[in-house]
């Protein structure tokens, strides 16, 4: 199934884009989407331990399952304020 992936902050600099489509197996977890992203853009792989994620603009765990058409966002460590 297909999901939309959003990359923020330094992740989009490293990947060279902000948004992409990913094919992942049915019932894939967010972590599988991340694997697909790092497969295409090895430069983002060092963020494996510090990345967090959101699905359809809700914070989720990497173990959360995604659905067809979901918007999956990967967030490097934040620096608001």
């Amino acid at each position: 199934m297909r999901v939309t992936v959003l990359l923020f902050g330094r992740l989009h600099d490293l990947a060279g884009l902000r948004e992409l489509e990913c094919e992942v197996p049915r019932e894939a977890a967010v972590s599988a989407v991340w694997q697909a992203v790092t497969g295409r853009f090895p430069a983002v792989a060092p963020y494996a331990r510090s990345v967090s994620a959101a699905v359809n603009a809700e914070f989720v765990k990497m173990t959360t399952a995604v659905d067809e058409g979901d918007e999956v966002a990967f967030l490097p460590p934040v620096a608001g304020g």
Binding site: G9, S50, A57, A73, L75, V78, G80, G81
Partner: protein, 161 residues
């Protein structure tokens, strides 16, 4: 459900407007209003910043803001908070974030205001891109996880409630 007290976007911040939003309609209902404004600094770790941009995942930022607002309500039921975060390029000296907190008790207003800025720094999906004479850097702080109890406790501790 829209809440004018919570916003993120490229508009210039107006902390006076936020203070008015929390001060309430009934004259004298709140005894203390505390505000915080974070401005863009011209020095970061000894390097002179010449330009700066904030990027945000806006829909998720509004979720994070609502989470923070609800945490404040749980800790300080009498306190009301409003806060806006700016995005895009911000000139040096201008505000990137503005917070207002009101309560009948000044201790609660101070604590609620401080808690909001601590939590924003922990979980708001906002990224700061600093440009220097000779390069640029993405500032990265906390791993955003609203359910991290240790982070919440640290924010609460810093708010000195």
């Amino acid at each position: 459900m829209s809440d004018r007290r919570l916003a993120i976007g490229p508009h210039v911040l107006d902390v006076g407007e936020l203070a008015a939003l929390v001060a309430g309609d009934e004259p004298g209902a709140h005894g203390a209003v505390v505000t915080f404004v974070g401005t863009v600094r011209n020095l970061n770790q000894g390097r002179r910043v010449i330009r700066l941009e904030y990027e945000a995942y806006e829909p998720l930022a509004l979720r994070a803001f609502a989470i923070i607002r609800d945490e404040v309500a749980a800790h300080w039921p009498s306190a009301r908070v409003a806060f806006h975060h700016r995005t895009g390029p911000i000139a040096l000296g201008e505000a990137s974030v503005a917070i207002a907190a009101a309560s009948p008790r000044r201790a609660d207003a101070f604590a609620a205001c401080r808690y909001v800025i601590e939590r924003l720094k922990q979980i708001a999906p906002v990224w700061k891109h600093e440009y220097f004479e000779d390069g640029d850097v993405w500032i990265e702080g906390a791993v955003a996880d609203p359910s991290d109890e240790k982070a919440k406790e640290e924010a609460f501790r810093r708010s000195c409630a």
